[in-house]
């Protein structure tokens, strides 16, 4: 129904022109051309208003939503970026702290190892000194033992050489005398 009306409306000026070519240059023709223009313009405006407005409105809403979403996405991205930047900054701090802690631990470990080494060296030195002293004592003791053994063996040999009955009797008498003293 609407299509038929539009066809009649748009075809009327053409029909009018075909009938009278010269009539178009008349005022009435001018009026009709204006009317024709207005009709076409109105139809176009109607169509645009009827169908374009909702389309553009929906499109605008869609674009607005997209813009809003884009803004939200951007805000989210910016938040993430800030977080990431903050995290990176904290990473830097943590890395720096770890580095410092590592340095501190390293220094402490070095000191500890040095102290341990000093202690071990001192212990080894003490043990070595003790061992040397013990060896010296043992050596001296061994020398004394050898000297004592040689001396007493030599003394025994001399006594055997010089022992005679009188000396033996005297020694036995001395022993008996000691027993008598013990008895009394």
């Amino acid at each position: 129904m609407l299509g038929a009306a539009l066809l009649v409306t748009f075809s009327l000026p053409a029909l009018a022109q075909e009938g009278a070519a010269d009539a178009a240059n008349t005022p009435i023709g001018t009026v009709f051309r204006w009317l024709n223009f207005l009709l076409v313009f109105g139809a176009l405006a109607y169509v645009i208003v009827k169908y374009g407005a909702p389309y553009f409105s929906a499109r605008a809403e869609s674009i607005a939503r997209s813009i809003e979403e884009a803004a939200q996405t951007r805000a989210a991205a910016e938040r993430e970026l800030r977080k990431t930047v903050d995290k990176l900054a904290s990473f830097d701090r943590e890395i720096e702290e770890e580095r410092r802690a590592g340095q501190r631990d390293s220094v402490a470990d070095r000191e500890r190892i040095l102290e341990l080494t000093r202690s071990e060296v001192e212990k080894i030195q003490q043990a070595a000194r003790a061992e040397i002293a013990a060896s010296e004592r043992a050596g001296a003791q061994e020398i004394r033992a050898i000297a004592a053994k040689l001396a007493t063996e030599r003394a025994a040999a001399l006594i055997r050489e010089q022992m005679n009955k009188a000396a033996e009797s005297a020694l036995f008498g001395s022993f008996v005398g000691e027993l008598e003293r013990a008895a009394s």
């Binding site: 004394r144 001396a151 006594i159 036995f172 022993f175 027993l179 008598e180 013990a182």
Partner: protein, 178 residues
């Protein structure tokens, strides 16, 4: 704590003392032990459970007759055989000697010297040992030239050491410790 051997020794000592034959029994027991040492099979036979009591008694009887030993020893051997204590005879003999010595007031002295002592020296030593122990002393002399000179006397568990060897040993220890 008294041992089983001491119980047997005390019983034999009581009988021997009551019969006034302590020295005789001591000698007979010593001879019988010497016989056992010379013939180990004899000890095995007397201690074997495979040999009857009568046969063991017969063997002991025969030995006692051959040794011309007393009935005291024979009866004692019968008791020891019956109680299966033949293996304890060496310990019994030691305990018996000690018990008899104790009852008779005798102290035994082991005297070791580098040379033979003359009678005067032996008498001197005996006199002083009797004064020391308060008992009559019976000495057992041994020679040991390693003593160099002097003497070592053991009475019971006490040792009196007057040897030159020991004096030199003490000197050596003293020199070592200086």
């Amino acid at each position: 704590m008294r041992t089983i051997a001491q119980h047997y020794a005390d019983a034999l000592a009581e009988v021997a003392i009551s019969q006034k034959s302590a020295e005789q029994v001591r000698r007979e027991l010593r001879d019988f032990l010497a016989l056992l040492r010379e013939s180990p099979q004899l000890g095995v036979l007397l201690g074997s459970p495979a040999v009857s009591r009568a046969n063991k008694h017969a063997v002991a009887e025969a030995l006692v007759e051959r040794m011309s030993a007393s009935r005291t020893l024979r009866n004692f051997l019968f008791v020891v055989i019956d109680q299966r204590r033949v293996g304890l005879l060496p310990e019994i003999q030691q305990a018996f000697d000690a018990r008899i010595d104790d009852l008779e007031g005798v102290a035994r002295a082991d005297v070791t010297t580098a040379r033979e002592l003359n009678e005067r020296e032996r008498k001197q030593l005996r006199t002083v040992l009797e004064r020391l122990s308060g008992r009559r002393v019976e000495e057992n002399y041994q020679l040991d030239p390693a003593l160099i000179a002097g003497a070592v006397v053991r009475v019971g568990s006490t040792i009196y050491d007057g040897s030159v060897r020991t004096q030199l040993e003490r000197l050596r220890v003293k020199l070592e410790s200086q």
